[in-house]
Subunit: 225 residues, 2 copies
Amino acid sequence: MKLQLHIKMNEALFLRNPESSELGKNILKHSVSLIYKTGFEAFTFKKLAEEIGTTEASIYRYFENKHKILVYLAAWYWTWFEFQISFHTNNIKDPNTKLKKVIKLLTTKVEDDEQTNYINESLLHQIIIAEGSKSYLTKQVGEDNKHQLFKPYKDLCAVIGNVILECNPKYKYPRSLATTIIEMAHFQNFFMNHLPSLTDFGKHKEETELVSFLIDLVFSSLKKT
Amino acid sequence: MKLQLHIKMNEALFLRNPESSELGKNILKHSVSLIYKTGFEAFTFKKLAEEIGTTEASIYRYFENKHKILVYLAAWYWTWFEFQISFHTNNIKDPNTKLKKVIKLLTTKVEDDEQTNYINESLLHQIIIAEGSKSYLTKQVGEDNKHQLFKPYKDLCAVIGNVILECNPKYKYPRSLATTIIEMAHFQNFFMNHLPSLTDFGKHKEETELVSFLIDLVFSSLKKT
DNA sequence: TTTAAATAACAGTAATACTATCATAAATAA
DNA sequence: TTATTTATGATAGTATTACTGTTATTTAAA
């Protein structure tokens, strides 16, 4: 018997809670593998239905459209990731060490939680790198934001921002630095793999170098008085 | 008689050169205003054709699909922006001052070049902020990159990277820092306007604060030996 | 002035993004 | 247990998107 931690999702994300049924869980599971495989643009409810062995109409009972699935997955991921942080930094007192750990967690390949649930965190991590920003770079961002759909991302930003303030209470831009860390962990990773000349760690594709870059960037700013 | 500077675009971006005809120029002009108005997702060739007063088929003779238009506009913008840098930093010898100028240019609202040409740089700047990363966050990024479609962005990154190296020849991550500056200038701006709690300059929406954040971030890293 | 090229006008197809209806199966409540 | 609600499957259908193709007409070049 394994401990299952359950993430309670914002109800505005779905029409019917996908966690409440087998079909719903299949929608999540196969959304992850299908978006991973085809990319978000080519991902359709038709293809998803075929993968699952159900119909488009059935999927529409769970999610309004594919954009909502992406926002759902992003929200799930950030909630899960915030837990990862609290888990892995649990015993760490020194905020500097804690912040370094956060950077490493953001940068390192995620290992799948061994079928703990229907979401493959490792694939989802890759999806968030390549598609995550599309969840808010839309015309509906204001509307979606009103419904609190980005709360998990904001909460994470606040958590990291607080660690930053612990490192240097006088630092003036904790939230912007937090989002910079998050976004750059992902963008630099994407660039490293697809547009390497935009980075300084192209050839070897070593994540450790990306970690070094981010740590240097962040702690230079924080060391100043 | 005004001096028109002409940007020679990569031929892989289009089927027929849009700069070679009135219709082509109209496609560019109205693409900018329509993407600005509706967002890239809702932007279609049908709507574009209606705006221009032409047919879908005619537009397809210029561009393969709407993604290519976005990549075209992004390429145009970065080429134009690189020129802006060389223009505005022309007499500046001190690399630190130069880098600050670059940050300000990236962050400040662009003023339209007074009908110098068919592209409204001010609107395009807003488009690049909200849609720019969608030009490469796709499954075709490798293919597009092979055709050099992202060369203007890479060139800009190299230019800024060189200024960074002038500031501190020992700095190890000039390109990654350059892309960080570029992307964060845009993302923080987007957050400021749409998801303000992700930043530290929400309420007043002052670009000057964003500039301060970026300058602090960058020069902290570069001051170290 | 002829001829070539570009565009408009129109038709048509396949895929996408949905909505609606009805039958049936499964879960739940009486 | 049966009645009833609820979820799903099966199927159909619509509007829009993303294209391709054909022909006539206009415009520009030789």
